[in-house]
């Protein structure tokens, strides 16, 4: 470091000197050159010649150069020395700094001059002093700290000594705590296990409750067994599961086998025998395990298990469960599974299941019994006769009403007699019953007359709750009363028609003869009065006829006797019948037939009634005199013909148009014009046309006229063997 400083120091002086030298040199050169130039100029201006010029210049150059050189040298040396002197205090400062950096803060700078260097030196000295002081302070402080630390440390050591750990004691305590923790942990685990097993139990119970619920919803044994099988399959991978259950009457046993895994042969063959043995053995109170063992052996023996189940005899176990309710054995179920799949929990569940199943079966039985007794009571109390057949067409049930009506006894005797008396009337019950049992067909016999009694009989198939058909039933409805009433009604109608018509006839005849002046002359008034009487009588006659017709039509027993009819001819004849009335009212009737009209089977009487009514209406309601009625007949399409009757009369007001075909309805404007209408004509006409599969409708404008349309099917009317024809009017 020292050397560096020296170089530095020397370096500065030399650097400055050299710089100074260069500057001055350059400066000198510039001045000389400049001076030369000026001199040259002056000389030339003074008229000096070349030689003189050159000489002058040379001596000037020499002179000036020497001077300049001298000045430069002198300046450099002076400069060097000046710098050196200036450097001296810097050297001193430098030494001091060196000392400081070496850690010697005692060195002081001695400066004798009293200038700026003094200030700097003093500052340096002061700084040194300060640092020295600081260092001392620091040392003192450190010492103090050390003492403190030592004191504290010794104090702590004392303290520590006091609170000295008995390591052994601590270890013992740790061990104790650990034990407690372990025990706590064990207890916790136990609780967890208990919790888990409780949860499992709860799940089991829930599952079993669910199973019980499902079982309670089944009332058939099959359904129950399937449910149990499903349930067991959910938690146990069993090999086979077999049920053996007595039916209600203990005569039939229901046996069901379910296989879970594929086996070559149904190992529960012979289950029935084994199960019944099992049940009888249990009565002898042998131990369950022994029974199960013998069961297992009985089921498949040592060799079979290898072949059939692919395992060793000892790998499998049998579990048997009795189904008991109220002390009565209803059956049992047994289960075959691999030993390693069974455990205490599963056994417990299976036991619970067997109780649930027992309860369910007992419940279902009780329900069936109660339902059956409800149903039986119902059937026995019906007023309709019911004869039920089973699927083998044997009589299964005859209720008292049936016995009464048909003479068939509850055990079925008398059935053949009944069937043959029906056969005589072309009613083949055997056929209907067969159809019902085999094909589920419903049949209906409207009337059957046996020994002056009338029956309506329905033949229905009978199905049970699971939609299995297990027979058919004859439901016999006594309609003798109804028939009687109907007959009475018919007789009443007959009597009424006769009784009403008789006096009407007499009145008509006598009045007619009076009007005809056959028994004497009449004055104008007498004539008029008698004519009124006659007209009123005619009205009554028509009313009686209409009422009779309505009754007959409504009873649905209208007879229809179609015969091939030439509609054109027919309509012409109806028109000619109405001509007298038309002439009276001065109405003209035009008839027009378009195209070839096929011959149609029609009941002439009925159809005549319709058109007579329509034409008469047209005449009656042609308000003005000189009205015109247009009747047309044409083919409507391939299936129908269309007849229209048009008048230019009073028309039918819009607000009553929908009531025109109503029984007894007459529009006000019609009543005004022709008081004698009964309001039945269109009703009867509509019934007749509709019973013939035809259509009747109208179009009308009040004040302008009405057109009635009748559409008749070309296929014609069907013959109906009714009891009544229409009252012809």
């Amino acid at each position: 470091m020292i050397e560096k400083d020296d170089n530095l120091k020397s370096g500065i002086a030399i650097k400055i000197t050299i710089s100074f030298f260069i500057i001055l040199l350059l400066f000198g050169i510039v001045i000389v050159s400049f001076s030369k130039i000026i001199l040259k100029k002056e000389l030339l201006a003074g008229g000096a010649d070349q030689e003189l010029l050159a000489e002058t210049l040379n001596s000037f150059t020499l002179f000036s150069t020497s001077i300049i050189t001298f000045v430069i040298l002198f300046s450099c040396v002076a400069a060097y020395f000046i710098v050196h002197i200036i450097n001296r205090p810097i050297k001193k400062l430098e030494k001091a700094a060196r000392e400081f950096s070496n850690g010697n803060f005692n060195y002081r700078i001695n400066v004798h001059t009293s200038d700026e260097w003094t200030v700097l030196a003093d500052s340096f000295n002061d700084a040194g002093e300060e640092v020295k002081k600081l260092r001392k302070n620091e040392k003192d402080y450190n010492l103090k700290l050390e003492n403190e630390v030592e004191t504290k440390t010794s104090e702590l050591k004392k303290l520590l000594k006091g609170v000295e750990f008995d390591k052994d004691e601590m270890d013992k305590q740790r061990a104790a705590i650990l034990n407690i923790l372990e025990d706590t942990y064990d207890a916790q685990q136990n609780i967890k296990d208990t919790n888990t097993s409780l949860q499992n139990r709860q799940k089991e119970l829930e599952a079993i409750a669910e199973l019980s619920k499902k079982l309670s919803m089944k009332i058939d044994i099959d359904g129950m067994m399937a449910t149990v099988r499903e349930f067991v399959g959910n938690f146990l991978d069993f090999n086979c599961l077999g049920f053996y259950i007595f039916s209600d009457d203990k005569n039939v046993k229901v046996v069901r086998r379910f296989l879970n895994k594929k086996t070559g042969v149904n190992v529960l063959n012979g289950l029935e025998e084994i199960m019944s043995d099992f049940l009888s053995q249990e009565n002898k109170k042998e131990k369950k395990e022994e029974i199960e063992k013998s069961f297992k052996e009985a089921l498949f023996g040592e060799q079979k298990s290898k072949i059939i189940l692919g395992g060793n005899f000892d790998d499998f176990e049998v579990r048997t469960f009795k189904l008991v309710s109220g002390g009565n054995a209803m059956g049992a179920f047994c289960l075959l599974a691999e030993k390693n799949k069974l455990n205490k929990d599963i056994d417990r569940i299976l036991n619970t299941i067997s109780s649930a199943v027992s309860v369910a079966i007992a419940g279902a039985r009780a329900y069936n019994v109660s339902e059956r007794s409800k149903t039986e009571s119902l059937i026995y109390s019906l007023s309709n006769g019911i004869i039920m057949y089973d699927e083998h067409q044997k009589v299964a049930l005859v209720n008292p009403a049936a016995s009464l009506l048909t003479g068939v006894k509850p055990d079925g005797t008398g059935m053949d007699a009944f069937l043959s008396s029906a056969k005589v009337q072309n009613v083949d019950f055997s056929y209907y019953l067969k159809e019902a049992i085999k094909n589920g067909k419903y049949s209906h016999v409207e009337t059957l007359n046996i020994n002056e009694s009338y029956f309506e009989v329905f033949i229905n198939p009978v199905t049970d709750a699971v939609k299995k058909r297990f027979g058919a039933a004859l439901i016999i409805h006594d309609i003798t009363q109804i028939k009687l009433i109907d007959r009475m009604k018919t007789e009443f109608v007959s009597v009424a028609s006769h009784q009403l018509r008789t006096p009407l006839t007499a009145i008509k005849l006598f009045t007619e003869m009076l009007i005809g002046k056959e028994v004497g002359e009449l004055n104008k008034d007498q004539q008029e009065y008698l004519e009124n009487v006659y007209e009123s009588t005619e009205r009554m006659v028509r009313l009686v006829n209409d009422l009779l017709n309505v009754t007959r039509i409504e009873s649905g027993r209208l007879s229809i006797n179609p015969e091939p009819t030439d509609l054109s001819k027919f309509l012409k004849s109806v028109i000619s019948e109405a001509n007298p009335l038309a002439r009276l009212k001065k109405i003209a009737i035009d008839f027009n037939s378009k195209g070839k009209i096929p011959v149609i089977n029609l009941d002439v009487n009925l159809v005549r009634q319709v058109f007579h009514n329509l034409i008469t209406n047209a005449i009656r309601y042609s308000g003005q005199k000189n009205g015109r009625i247009k009747i047309s007949l044409k083919k409507h399409n391939a299936k129908n013909v269309l007849i229209s009757i048009s008048d230019n009369g009073i028309g039918i007001p819009e607000n009553v148009q929908k009531r025109i075909f109503e029984k007894f309805y007459r529009a006000d404007n019609a009543v005004k014009v022709a008081t004698e209408g009964t309001g039945l004509g269109l009703y009867v006409s509509k019934m007749i046309i509709e019973q013939s599969d035809g259509e009747i409708w109208f179009e009308s404008k009040p004040g302008k006229g009405t057109t009635f349309f009748v559409k008749l099917p070309t296929k014609g009317m069907k013959k109906i063997e009714g009891e009544r024809g229409l009252a012809i009017s």
């Binding site: 028609s497 005849l509 024809g725 009017s729």
Partner: protein, 125 residues
């Protein structure tokens, strides 16, 4: 002596109607022999051997159908034209009437005297 009048037996139990027809027919120059029940009708027909019979159906003792059945067996009577005059208008009754051999079936209340007389003259031709 004029031509013998046409004899008609009128079997009708209602006295008014019987009177009306009797008067009407007599004015039409027919001889009318009334009968008021079925048995009387058969008797009168046997006794009078009429040219035409007007036969009501509902009558005491014997109804019109029965009367017709009876006389149809008798050879000398079976060809007499019989017109049923009744207030029963059933198709079945009409059918029965025709089957038994009546030439026509008229519902009394629907036919005026004139119409009946014209029908009679038709069947007497």
């Amino acid at each position: 002596m004029g031509k013998a009048k046409v004899k008609i037996v009128l079997a009708e139990d209602d006295k008014f109607i019987s009177k009306a027809y009797q008067d009407g027919l007599r004015r039409g120059n027919y001889e009318v022999i009334p009968a008021f029940n079925g048995i009387e009708a058969v008797e009168k027909i046997k006794a009078e051997k009429p040219d035409l019979i007007l036969l009501d159906i509902i009558m005491p003792d014997k109804n019109g159908f029965e009367v017709l059945e009876e006389i149809k067996i008798i050879p000398e009577l079976k060809n007499i034209p019989v017109i049923f005059l009744s207030n029963l208008g059933q198709e079945t009754d009409i059918q029965k009437g025709r089957e038994l051999g009546a030439v026509d079936y008229l519902i009394k209340s629907n036919f005026s005297m004139k119409e009946v007389i014209s029908k009679i003259s038709e069947y007497l031709k």
